[in-house]
Amino acid sequence: MRQRHHRPFFFFLLTILLFAPTSAGGQQLGTDSLKNNSIDRCGNLKSVNAPIINPISPTSSEEIPSRKEKLIVSGSKGTAYFFLGSLCPCTDAHKHSIMELMSLAPKKNVKLVAVFPNKGESVELIEHFFKGVGFKLNYLVDSTNRLVKRFGAKKTPEVFLIDEKGRVVYSGPIDDSVENLGQIKNAYLKNAVLDLAEGRPVSVPRAEGSGCWIVRNR
């Protein structure tokens, strides 16, 4: 008799565990991330022990191991991943916003990392790209597109801001200047960084913008 009374509870618990919300406090991630087992059931990007690859040594950034990448920089409030393309013209339109963030983000303990995911990307092209746009970010070459798959990135530039628990709190363009003929009406990423740093929910967690397609390696 007692076992019978426990069964409904057991099935109830199993149901809760199986169908728990995939987002808890952060933005719901795409199905690609779920399939890749890169997020846990609470929607947090899995963080592991290995330090982020030092982007100053580009030769060590060619591959991002699938299970040992730490996407949150220890001690930081958040990390913004910029998916960029060295042959994509769209980043130039946002360069002033990016440079403003390069000044603001350290003060808010938010790290900025560029990711170059396109097939055929090379350190030579990336260095040339940064020379052309007039700024330089720490960068990773996502030659196996692991980060593309984990974030579900589709275009360049596209930004994913994650908090200290690895949850994506903002994804989308840097700002809306392209849509407004150069005028910034919504500084999406800057506002998200400020919200995150000051402990507020990000007011605009997702936005759409234009950009070049990511040409995947696989």
Partner: protein
Amino acid sequence: MKSINLLAKILLAAMLSAFGVFALAGCGGSASGDDTKNMVYGSPESKMSMEPASGPLYEGAALSIAPEVKPAPNATEHRVRIDVNHADVIVNDTIKFVGWVFGGAYPGPVLHVRQGDKVYFKMTNRSNETVGISPPSPHSIDFHAAMVNPKDKYREVIPGATIEFEWTANYPGVYMYHCGSPAILQHMIYGMVGMTIVEPKDGYPTKVDREYALFQSELYLAKLKSGMYVTDMATAKKKEPMFVCFNGQPFRHVKEPLKAKAGERIRLYILNAGPCGTSSFHVVGTLFDRVWMEGHPQNEMRGAATIMLPSSGGAIVEFVVPEKGIYTFVDHEFADVEAGAAGLIDASGDEVAMK
């Protein structure tokens, strides 16, 4: 009494004469009248679709590739298609770079219509067809000859999408078209530039034996350690071109001179596409009998040796080939000549123009 009557008659005659002059002045498109009343401002909203494209990268009887200028078709409406694609641009025997171009050509096709004509324009962004060359990117087009809402007609076209819109050629002229997507400078140095010729409704006041299109543009390239050439925004921002070209290649018309005969009257439709520099256009050995700035016959100069073209500025020049010989044309800002802005008109043959 008689003198008053005479005075009244004189005054009446003067008033009628004055009225007649004003009435005549209001007619037609004379320089002193208002010819804007027949102009068409704006056009219906553009259409965007994901209609797939195939076949040639440009279509339309009004199109040609410089230096050739096909006559404007005998029609008042023109269906024109110029698609965008990513392709290698050949600079010379040893240099090429990944370009973004209109109609598969650098510079893009020359569009030739008449004043008052309507252009039904279609463009597909086919940059998604060549992902191995360059990532598919959004592009757009900006026709300087058109008077339309840029936010609607010149809006971004994503890879694989097609935009359609119409515009009316209100003014005669030589105008530029180019990609208007940010960063515009980058799109232009990648090759997204072209020329539109709008000739007057009733044609030009002069007859010529031959005509050519000359498109001046700058190439900003960097050579990477691997030997690859890529476009270079850093030097573009400093206005330091690696090459300055007529019709897409440095010294192209030194290798492929334009043909002429002694005694012929030649018309050149010239456009300085920049994107950063000016041009001081000159033909060695002759003078320009006619210069129509911006390509409009009402903006006339006579007997000019050199004409100044701003970036995106155009003009028409006409000159007589005085005798048998080779005539060099240059951008007289001679640093540009060093970079490739020179060409030849070859009238060295024994044939002379029939009088």
